[in-house]
């Protein structure tokens, strides 16, 4: 699954560690999601959407 996490994070000048702390997950989790190696659960996707004040669809897309 593709995502815009890296862009959204860069817009706020957050490091992966910053985002991980805000999400209460490990930095490896953020990295795995960002690189598309790990798809987050729905609750974590909602948490991301709330954090970036946008919708899940604006962050994730199911195109390969």
């Amino acid at each position: 699954m593709k995502n815009r996490l890296r862009v959204l994070r860069a817009e706020r000048d957050w490091s992966q560690a910053d985002l991980a702390e805000r999400l209460e997950v490990s930095r490896q989790s953020v990295n795995a999601i960002e690189t598309g190696k790990f798809d987050p659960s729905l609750p974590l996707a909602f948490k991301l959407a709330r954090l970036f004040e946008t919708t899940i669809e604006a962050i994730f897309s199911d195109e390969n």
Partner: protein, 134 residues
């Protein structure tokens, strides 16, 4: 870097595991000394022989607790994936060994070694699984 919550879960897991490992070594020592010197029979022998198995059961419960307490879904997924590969490898090796033991009469493997063997496979699987997500 892991989250603060994940760190506390890991610390708790390592503390519990350390206690269980100490109990395991102690129970092995007590059991073998008691059997060698007291020569127990019947129920006493059974209970003594069971002693080192109890910390192993506790170790399995500790792993289950870790999985239920770990809120970082990615870390939990890595652990579960590693455990599945580890258990699969253990079942494969013990099944092959069992067949060779039964039909080719090779040296029997002690069932007591199955858990340590599984731990080794889970550890190796964890190294591979972590590399895959790097």
């Amino acid at each position: 870097m892991e989250s603060k919550f994940s760190n506390s879960v890991n610390r708790r897991f390592h503390r519990r595991s350390l206690v269980v490992m100490v109990l395991y070594v102690l129970s092995l020592a007590v059991m073998s000394q008691a059997i060698d010197h007291l020569h127990p029979k019947g129920m006493a022998l059974y209970l003594l022989a069971l002693l080192p198995a109890l910390p192993i059961v506790a170790a399995i419960v500790i792993i289950a607790l870790y999985l239920s307490e770990q809120k970082d879904e990615f870390v939990r997924t890595l652990q579960i994936e590693s455990m599945l590969w580890g258990v699969g490898a253990t079942l494969t090796v013990t099944t092959i060994w069992g067949a060779l033991e039964k039909f080719a009469h090779i040296r029997p493997m002690s069932l007591f070694l199955v858990y340590p063997l599984c731990c080794v496979f889970v550890f190796l699987a964890r190294v591979v699984v972590k590399r895959r997500y790097r």
